[in-house]
Amino acid sequence: MKTRTSILLGSLSAALVALALTSPRVVAADKVDPVADAKAFQNFFFQKFPNVKHEDFVNGPYSMNEDMKRQWQEKEEFPPYEFALDAGKEMFATPFKNGKTYADCFPNGGIGIRQNYPYFDEREGKVVTLELALNRCREANGEAPYSYVKDEMASLTAYMAFTSRGKPMDIKIPDDPRALAAFENGKRYFYTRRGQMNFSCAGCHVQSPGERIRAETLAPALGILNAMPIYRSEWSGMGTTSRRFVTCNSQTRAVPLEPQADEYRDVEYFLSYVANGLPISGPGARP
């Protein structure tokens, strides 16, 4: 008995020492530092995949697998999102019943601005995504909102993303505690395990990019939203960021939240911010 107690005490003190030595940030964790987080996030991936060009990360699984990349590049001549893109261009130019257009709702007439979304709305105190802004524009002009997960919204955002292709992601976090809280909330959601399968976003996209989950090759989390919206062969159609969050939740056997739930908007804010500097590659095509 005596030996057991001393071993127990010994291991306990060893654990405490280890804890004190390995988590210096635990004490300083109260302060949210998005700049430091983004730097650490990018460096993690740059170091894990030294042969991948920084801007290539936005191509998801294609940055992880040469053969897939080659096939994708061939298809980019006639990409599957082409129909949605053309439809989106037409939709964007078509006036509402009251004569106004989407251009009236957005800076620069809505052209070449996708890289600024999502943004933190200081009046509202919440993160606003591009899709949310588009539906608000519609409703403000007497039109019914589009579903966040179906084709029409994806066609519109496909066109807007296309006008921003190549531009670096440029998300701003104002010096507002609510914005910092939203960023932190998004980060928390990203790393939290959920669903009966107990997966977190990080489990696949931070720990296992380039590896397979069944027949799919996993994309790295860095720049994972830069290609949105995407034509997914799995869906035989276009999908928005909301669609992906919702389907991923279901796949881990978690009941999905509403398409523009606070958590989803916040995680989109977090993921977009840490990809600042990487080019917009949307609309994209994925397996």
């Binding site: 964790a29 993690f44 939290t192 959920r194 009966q196 009941v255 939240l257």
Partner: protein, 101 residues
Amino acid sequence: MKRSLPLAMLLALSLAPAARAANEADYKAAYAAAEAASKEAAGMRNQWTVTVSTLAAAKKAADGGDFDRAVAAAQEAEALAKASIFQATSEKDAWKAMEIR
């Protein structure tokens, strides 16, 4: 170990629930417990799809008069709901261990 195994078995047998068929009252109690846990999980915004479907299966079995299956499903739904609550609670701090720093 050798001494305690038959003792453990005896204990298990004596504590095991009575092997009679379940009735509607059993089901209603089991379902109520499961539903309460399920609602708590939903309130934490960490509901599992399997909890919802197992609970629905329990109700369906009861509606068809199969209370044995209904009770079993309700108990499973309650266990799933409790697991999801445990997950949400422990993940409140556990997520930080995954964070890239």
